[in-house]
């Protein structure tokens, strides 16, 4: 049996592993894909103290090596369930089951989809969730961005520099994202705003060719021919497997305060998957430290 099982090897989970190991607890980190979390998509981190520039991949590799050198074990299997019998937590994966005294959920979040037919099949064939990753494929071409938050505005600005034409499709007529970003975008000649509208169909022939956009106010339908569609409609937390044990808010985030305690004894939560005001790298690592420290306290009092 391990002292602590951490579910998720992003910055929050790996920092929790570092803190737990430095408190001499045995730690297993379970991760569904590979270490790193969503930060690996960021080409350049400029707001993390100590270093002015580092890529997300280099950052996560350093944290991973630090945790491993301290003795954290990593297993790449997806945690699908947590069971509790007399205080012993069993974390189940498709292949194995692992026991621990305490569990830290650090499962992060994933891109929210539009939920359209063919959306999954067209990823990589015109549909993308990451403008900085895939924007280069659409140089001098026509693209659309869907969404109204900061990510959508920043994606549209980034793409406006590369592409011939950028449509910004938003279901309202005002943006949730920063006003400054919206103003900068409105100054661009190659950006067209499509307000009060939803993307209602993806039209493809081997790859995406056009989208159908429906106006929410008058029901009118318009077809926009394009090469790429960038979906930036937010993220959803990835903890549906654990909702039977810990309380989630209406959006699916695990309810916990700054101390990272869930409602369930011996289960803690860290990073983007926790209810919080600011989801950033620095708050994720801070959560990892807090969750591990609280888990260690919990174990020491058993």
């Amino acid at each position: 049996m391990y002292d602590i099982i951490v579910i998720g090897a992003g910055p929050a989970g790996m920092t929790a592993a570092i803190y737990a190991r430095r408190a001499s607890k045995t730690v297993l980190v379970l991760e569904a894909v590979t270490y790193g979390g969503q930060i690996i998509n960021t080409p350049d981190i400029e707001n993390y103290p100590v270093t002015a520039h580092i890529s997300g991949f280099d950052f996560s590799t350093k944290v991973y090596e630090q945790a491993k050198d301290l003795g954290a074990e990593f297993v790449f299997e997806k945690a699908v369930e947590i069971r509790d019998e007399n205080g012993v937590k069993t974390v189940v994966t498709p292949k194995n089951a692992y026991e621990a005294k305490a569990v830290i959920l650090a499962t992060g979040s994933e891109n929210r989809k539009l939920g359209l037919e063919n959306e999954d099949a067209l990823v990589g064939r015109g549909v993308s969730y990451c403008a900085t990753c895939d924007g280069n494929f659409f140089r001098k071409k026509t693209v659309a961005v869907v969404g109204g938050g900061n990510t959508a505005l920043e994606d549209a600005l980034y793409l406006a520099d590369l592409c011939e034409k950028v449509y910004l499709i938003h279901r309202r007529d005002s943006f949730r994202g920063e006003e400054a970003n919206a103003e900068r975008l409105k100054a661009r000649e190659n950006v067209e705003f499509v307000y009060n509208s939803n993307v209602t169909r993806l039209i493809a022939e081997k790859r995406l060719k056009a989208i159908e956009v429906t106006n929410r106010l008058d029901g009118s339908v318009r077809t926009i021919e394009l090469n790429g569609l960038f979906i930036a409609v937010g993220r959803v937390p990835e903890n549906q497997n654990f909702g039977s044990l810990v309380k989630l808010d209406e959006s699916g985030y695990v309810i916990a305060g700054e101390d990272c305690h869930t409602n369930y004894e011996g289960i803690f939560v860290a990073g983007d998957t926790r209810t919080k005001a600011l989801r950033q790298l620095v708050t994720a690592t801070a959560d990892g430290a807090m969750a591990a420290t609280e888990a260690v306290k919990y174990i020491n009092n058993l």
Binding site: I40, N41, S55, S60, F76, G124, C133, F138
Partner: protein, 103 residues
Amino acid sequence: MAIIEVTKANFEEEVLKSEVPVLVDFNADWCGPCKAMKPMLDDLAENSDSYKIASINIDDEDELAEEYDVTAIPCLVLFKDGKEANRSVGLIAKDAIEALLEV
């Protein structure tokens, strides 16, 4: 066997005319998820002789990327007998890469 670097010059010989299936990894230096996937591909390449793994840098080989409709990376395309047999876009786990090879 190590991962083979493939360009337009040796694509036909290494991929299309290969006697064993070839898993082609379309990637770029600036792509974090591609780098995250690399150790898994290295490991698979080292431990198999029933298939090959090839790497194509899409910035250097934009014609190949265009020809095979690659518009997002990492993108893994499995070629069997010179034809596309399977494809996956985005960072995936090692067992998912292995599953991709089993068609």
